[in-house]
């Protein structure tokens, strides 16, 4: 479909009319010194300009940090277990970065293949994602290294590209995207402009340019590379930050919370970086030290998930490396694992 043009003020008005019609807008806003996705009343509050990378992706709107998956009650009549209601809001995510939107490709495969996680799936079904092409890649960014680009469309329903200070190019990618413009098609103007030029310029600004998109077998061969994993394990503090800021990390725990007579069972975010994640009750741990746990995170992203689902699990947002308190950078790790074995290192 040829791209259209929309005036920013018209887009804001359109989004606000959707909000008035009952949809919930979610967009980056500044809070406490950085940007985070929040529900917003007015689309003009959305911070979607170039170079703005929210601290977290919008993952938690589809896969919350903690959610009840059932309720229980123990009465004189016995045990009752009840399903929890799933009637999620209709969400419009405005201002997703293309890398974050691409994380949905990963989460969709994980949560809806074989067995469908109804909590994720019901929210996903009611979510429309409007990405904004990324014209100012940041130092930590490496989307092009994992087969994506500043205008990647995976996971998005609409891709916007800021083409002038007061207008966006609009690329409607899916039926869901189309529905947002239903009855408002007149706001979309014909244009002969394309995003090619600005996207090429953005790609040129990308500082990290490895090729990590087809490395699943190469990376796997680095499994026994103690030089790589040992060093990571010594630095890692086991804080879990990398998993929590990651758009695609999806490990979760299941715990019961409540009293002896009533409560809920919850799904909570977890991390493969935590010792407890794999510790058996017997004391045995298949990943006994932090080195194996650091290896697991990298291997899962660049090899295991790809072996299983055919897609690299890392979208190249660079958050984990940028925010890690001890500077562990998954990009450097993956580049190291994908490169030839250093001489003199025994397997």
């Amino acid at each position: 479909m040829a791209e259209k043009l929309i005036a920013k003020k018209d887009l804001v008005e359109l989004l606000n009319s959707l909000a008035r019609a009952g949809k919930t807008l979610v967009a980056p806003v500044e809070e406490g010194g950085f940007f985070v996705f929040r529900k917003v009343e007015d689309a003009k509050d959305a911070a979607v300009g170039p170079g703005i990378k929210p601290r977290f992706s919008f993952k938690e709107f589809l896969f919350p940090k903690s959610e009840a998956i059932l309720r229980y009650r123990i009465t004189h009549d016995g045990l009752e277990v009840e399903d929890v209601e799933r009637k999620p809001e209709e969400l419009v995510i405005f201002g997703a970065r293309p890398c974050d939107a691409a994380s949905l490709r990963v989460l969709d495969l994980l949560f809806t293949k074989d067995y469908t996680d109804p909590f994720y799936a019901s929210r996903r079904e009611r979510t429309t994602v409007i990405s904004v092409a990324c014209l100012e890649p940041l130092a930590e960014c490496f989307c092009t290294s994992v087969g994506l680009s500043p205008d990647a469309t995976a996971g998005a329903d609409i891709l916007l590209t800021e083409i002038s200070p007061d207008s966006f190019l609009v690329d409607i990618l899916t039926e869901k995207g189309k529905r947002l413009f239903e009855g408002k098609e007149a706001l979309l103007k014909d244009t002969d402009k394309t995003r090619n030029e600005v996207i090429e310029a953005a790609k040129k600004k990308m500082q990290r340019k490895a090729n990590l998109s087809a490395t699943r077998d190469v990376v796997m061969r680095a499994f026994e590379r103690k030089d790589l994993w040992g060093a990571l394990g010594l630095r890692c503090l086991q804080c879990g930050l990398c998993a929590f800021v990651c758009p695609t990390c999806h490990c979760f725990d299941i715990v019961d919370e409540g009293t002896a007579t009533c409560g809920v069972r919850r799904k909570n975010w977890d991390s493969c970086g935590f010792e407890m994640c794999t510790l058996h009750t017997s004391g045995h741990n298949p990943r006994p030290s932090q080195s194996e746990r650091c290896r697991q995170r990298l291997m899962h992203k660049f090899s295991y998930f790809a072996q299983r689902f055919g897609v690299t699990m890392c979208v190249g947002c660079g958050r984990c490396g940028m925010l890690c308190p001890v500077g562990i950078d998954i990009y450097e790790g993956a580049v190291g694992a994908a490169s030839a074995e250093p001489e003199g290192v025994s397997k």
């Binding site: 059932l70 229980y72 949560f111 074989d114 490990c251 069972r265 794999t278 298949p286 899962h300 072996q307």
Partner: protein
């Protein structure tokens, strides 16, 4: 509303058997009458058992699907949930999700000699398959059972062992690592691999099913190799910490494989090709 894959069905404990001081077998019956007849599984599959309010834990179904109307699990009281489960009584209700995972390749066992080897609580999945085979005895050739434990007290399924030993169409051996002073015992004394080599079941047209603690598995695989078993004909089960049992929660993987979905049953040949992280 879409189906909630995390919802357990309620099952009632109808019988409790103390196998050892810390291992129990629970006989379980679905509260939902339709499930009592429609529930099916295969030997080797597992479930998530929950003491609601405490949590869930995964272990195999230890009875055979040929026994209808109920199923059993055998567990050792080790952590929070299994301890709470141990404290349950006949008539109490627990949650169950399953069956999950793959199963023993029962069709490939037809016509074969089968060597069953279990150590400690590892006998639980083996028992499911033994009963399955015994209930269709003529489909399988020779059956050899070796059940080992640290001590006489720790030997599970003593009642079943008695029944199996009484049959003329099975060779049934029990062994303990050591006897306490003054104990009398009508079985073998010695670790499982040693006793296996003593009885030396033939590898000819045979498949070995081995479940037990990692250290036992390690040395039993060596013994089986000595006896001529190829790694394709040695089948075992892996255990890893699990939460969902459905391939979502991300902790039971060994390399790209999830023990909960691709396992828990693997051949020794498959295991040797995996990253050694289990």
């Amino acid at each position: 509303m879409s189906e909630n894959i995390y919802m357990p069905s309620l099952v009632t404990i109808t019988e409790i058997t103390d196998e050892t001081p810390d291992v129990r077998t629970l006989k379980l019956v679905f509260e939902d009458e339709r499930l009592r007849t429609s529930f099916t599984f295969m030997p080797g599959q597992f479930g998530e058992y929950s003491v609601v309010g405490v949590g869930e834990c995964p272990f195999c179904i230890s009875s055979s699907p040929t026994k209808k109307g109920y199923f059993e699990c055998t567990f050792k009281a080790m952590g929070k949930v299994t301890t709470a489960l141990r404290d349950m009584e006949v008539g109490d209700t627990i949650g169950f999700r399953g069956p999950y995972g793959n199963h023993f390749p029962v069709d490939a066992l037809v016509g074969k000699n089968i060597v069953f080897i279990g150590g400690g609580i590892g006998m639980a999945p083996v028992r499911s398959l033994i009963e399955y085979c015994l209930d269709q005895r003529d489909r399988f050739a020779k059956i050899f059972i070796l059940n080992g434990a640290r001590s006489i007290d720790d030997l599970v399924y003593k009642a079943q062992m008695k029944e199996w030993a009484a049959r003329s169409d099975i060779q049934c051996v029990k062994t303990v690592d050591a006897l306490k002073e003054g104990q009398t015992w009508d079985g073998e004394v010695g670790v499982v691999p040693k006793i296996l080599e003593k009885f030396a079941p033939s590898a000819e047209n045979a498949v070995a099913i081995v479940c037990g603690p990692p250290i036992m598995i390690k040395f039993t695989l060596i013994s089986l190799q000595k006896l001529g078993f190829s790694t394709d004909n040695v089948i075992t089960t892996l255990e890893n910490k699990m939460k969902c049992g459905l391939g979502k929660c991300g902790r039971c993987n060994v390399g790209p494989y999830y023990v909960c979905k691709d396992g828990p049953v693997f051949t020794a040949a498959q295991l040797s090709a995996l990253p050694q992280e289990f």
